[in-house]
Symmetry: D3
Subunit: 251 residues, 6 copies
């Protein structure tokens, strides 16, 4: 799906009530077999599938996120907490000025959760603009139904069967299954209350078993994630109507 | 060209001295016929062509930039000056920690120039990490040689023959030539010393004549831009060696 | 338990390896029957009981927290996210300079979780100083074992049987059980993904049924919370030793 | 006196025109015989006595303040200037939103003076909300009348007869008079124009002679301080009426 | 020309529509023969000559600017980018509150360009207050007509014939022509795209040949610069009228 | 006295141990008879007289300061607290990098006191660089000896006999004695504890009686101020030696 909107076309879509979907990813290690952009690839794939279902309009993805927890692995390039918050805050303000009815952020990275939630709350408190941050709703249930390996624990799906299957489904050229290895780190007893970098927990950066991944499972997982997310977006838009006749002034 | 590097692969490339290339775009109006992501498309295309020439490694593009000057047109979504500066600053720090030899930013947006230059200077002053910001070196000369329409003036090529040709070359599906119109705004006598929004200057957002654009011209323009940029990068890397054996500590 | 340490006494305790415990509360509505300082009262009570168990030294509580979600109710006085983060960051730096081995924050307020986690991560990344943030570990299990009412859902215990019982145990003069009422708000289907203020969810500010609360249950709950937290602190201190011979310099 | 207000009770008090009193203390060395919380203890004691006199409502104290000047002594835990300013600014905004008529800050720490004054001025300039910062008005006169030792000079009463007497009056269990020693540092000739840390001036952290302190003197001192402060608050509230029918919107 | 306005006199001038002119200089090396304040001296001289021509009122100069590029030479004292931006932003806000019709900044320092442009854009976006930043319009043409030496290239006139002549015209006591030397640094091939400090480019800090400078040339250059700037200011004031009947409220 | 130092000359003076003197003024109303720059004029005059006495080197004055308290009068142009702090912080860092032994700030504006003190303390805490802020030491005594009118109270000398005499001594052309009027505002009983703008206190902006001012008194006052300040600077430099052989690195 394309993000190739012209200025008048996007203006018309927003005016007609289409809701903008913003994939927010990261550039962080995902083991030896997955690309550093895995979070972005997944978030964009989900956003693409959501668009036709929720009358959404796809925005270009943010390809970097807060991921200092993976700094110990090569190639990880992290933004700070404040930068992620600022990107979201700026885009929210811009969409508010442009008359959008709301914003849905499809987040693909754990470290983005806190700054994106903060940006959404700030938007609500400042001018009532509705922002929904999706953190893969329904993921645990979907994996329980479709996956065949044991999850790593603590809700962590990182470079595992779930993530690998989805990337196999949407960007198979980016995966090198010959390097896929399973790792089930033993979590220290004070995890996750104490702060741990990923490199302190495991050797490969994999949390789970990617060797069971298939593109078919990826498709099925995306279907399940799309269904769950679409329900949530539907509720959100119904419960948080925005009067679009209103202000286009600066926040 | 792909940005699908795995963690160990990117780590190995950086350790071997490949220089990372970061396209920095924007999401701003480019008339009725070009996509809002035109700056990103162009910057990425140039970065892709530069990679094999300069032993570069392509990083995912930043798809949003500082472009409040286009806020008056629908669909433009701008970051603030400080957010662009923060994104660049964070990625520079991350690359420094990861042992990269340098960073080349391929900038596609006028409004990004000042914050990117500031981030590059900050990097130099803080820890000597070399950052080169490319603002389409050689563009004026290339257009003079290849373009057939009159440029709009003040070095502005916006949704004109040059930009349209390049997007026709690399993303033709994103262009609707049937909507291409020429406009040569009359600049006020205190332009550019006084601050003007683009919507105060013209009606369509076009500065020049895109109707002369062709994909062939786009290819030729990209070739010329690539050659000029490659020379500059070569000089830069030669004149600014980085001791990569050194620190990987936090800045 | 007192926080009345003299300068040389506290210095000696820190030098001997006692771990400082900082209760971090809030000043937010807790229904008509509980005081606005309920979160502080509870966090301090837990910290007091932990001190003899973990060789802890009690610091004065921070009585205000991030609680804009309760702004819709009278009397709530909230700090911003950034202020909570700054308070924690300053105290962490100060304890690091004073040679403390670590810091344990006993957090009593949901809104403090994200800024305190961020401050703890910043400390780890900046100079390796270990900070553990306790968010009532074992609370769900303890309430399941001891409480007799149904919890409100989503892990929310707010002015309910659990919180009321604990305040009855440690500050009974602050509770007016004659005003205790039960309320089980119906959560909207996009909760908690969308941002909701507490006043949008319920009328009284109570989430659960405080009418079943007793001081005896409060004692039992505190015992259970203390046991769970002490185990966690023990693991944390064992796994994150700090070389206290080292730096006392500024961060 | 208790700070145990329920949400509706505090709301009713503010609506009826009671003025909130906020003790702002610090956690800094006060010699070997006084607790680190001496400034908080004193500010709270004064605020408690003021409440019935000025129709005040007591807020929980801020237990930490700007006190880097005492960093050279063990146990001192200081906030930064900006954090003190932010705490005050947030609480002022919150009280303004909650419809309070004004705020009186009872400050107990020298280092808090500048950031609290700045926060008060900001409040006045932003929305006219009246804030009065009390820095022990009448203290010099009260000590001249009641104290029997010589003051240390420069208006400094630190761990001396005045402070010790007041803590003896309100928290005698926190004082160890057996460790009380007198010290009269010789101030360098460029004090206080040049910046000096307290540890550069004296060995014990005491500025004056605490050995003359008694609880009776403390009571008398508190009476005198209360009278002076009450007069000032009365003038302030009379001269700075707030239209409480007005805005409850965000600042 | 004096900046000695009394409060009522300046108020009357602004109310009558006189436009304030603010010279913004720097304190940076200008070779061995020119004073560190050269940029300020030149900007003030130009502003003084503009005042009678454009009905301007002269404000005191800002004597420091962003000039870290000259840090490698003795005596250079630089402000940061953000400080220059803050100074300009504060003075713009103040003039807006005071009812000025506009502001013209006469900038004398290259490093100030970006932060001053940003402050001007911020003012436009926030409340439409018109700010014009003059960066010696017409300088290249004036020097081509009047100067006799070769310029150093890249538009750089630093401690050269142009700058020396102007200082000789307005502050001859500040020049020591006996120390004037010519230097034509060889610019590296990646200049100015890569960041270079001035001390990396040349030995003396001179870029050009000051030995040809005379006070007569300085007068002629100032006449030419004044004429070009006056035309620009005239256009600016005509095209950007400000309704001065309006708000004097805070921005 | 001139601030016209060349780069090598200032470098040599700093290396030889001359101490830089920075006048920090303001641009605020001083009644109908004195210029808005009165604080700057006075601070510079004092700094000029100090230079030969203390082996000082004069830096250009900062002509704007924190003076929002005078915003109610025409023509006042104020910087914010944070901007004054940033200017001082930047110049302190720059002087530290340039190897200066210390900095003496000759402050002329009440509103600058807090931000300059903060900047001085920050410098001490960050790298031990000694900064002395002079706030007219000895002024009260000097006026008591030389002035003939009654001071306005609270240590306020604003557009009164003292200030007017000094400006008459050093810049008589800037004074219009025909407009000098006396005003003795009646201070409200909660002054200065509560925040008051100057325009809330008086009608003319004068606090005292300038009609008694003469240039002769101004000379005598400056002599007395110079003597007191020189003593203080002498003590300061003796007590705070800086090892100038040391670091020139960034702070």
């Amino acid at each position: 799906m394309s993000t190739h909107h012209s200025s008048p076309d996007l203006g018309a879509l927003l005016a007609a009530g289409s809701v903008p979907l913003l994939p927010f990813g990261a550039f962080e290690q995902h083991g030896p077999h997955l690309p550093l952009s895995t979070d972005t690839i997944m978030a964009r794939a989900l956003a693409e599938r959501l668009c036709p279902v929720v009358d959404g309009v796809l925005l270009p993805a943010v390809e970097y996120g807060q991921t200092t927890g993976n700094d110990g692995f090569p190639g990880t390039l992290s933004l700070s907490f404040d930068t992620v918050r600022a990107i979201a805050g700026d885009l929210i303000s811009a969409l508010h000025r442009q008359g959008a009815r709301a914003l849905v952020i499809v987040n693909g990275d754990f470290g983005n959760r806190a700054p994106l939630a903060l940006a959404a709350r700030d938007a609500k408190e400042r001018n009532g603009f509705p922002v929904l941050v999706l953190n893969y709703p329904g993921m645990t249930e979907a994996f329980a139904a479709i996956g065949t390996s044991r999850p790593a624990g603590f809700g962590l799906h990182h470079a595992d069967e779930l993530e690998t299957s989805i990337v196999l489904a949407v960007a198979p050229e980016a995966v090198d299954m010959s390097r896929a290895v399973a790792e089930y780190p033993v979590f220290p007893p004070d995890f996750p209350d104490a702060e741990y970098g990923m490199a302190e927990l495991g050797a490969t950066g994999v949390f789970g078993d990617p060797t069971h991944a298939t593109a078919e499972k990826g498709e099925a997982l995306l279907d399940a994630l799309t269904a769950a997310a679409a329900r949530l977006i539907g509720d959100f838009l119904r419960l948080h109507p925005q009067d679009r006749t209103g202000d286009r002034t600066r926040d």
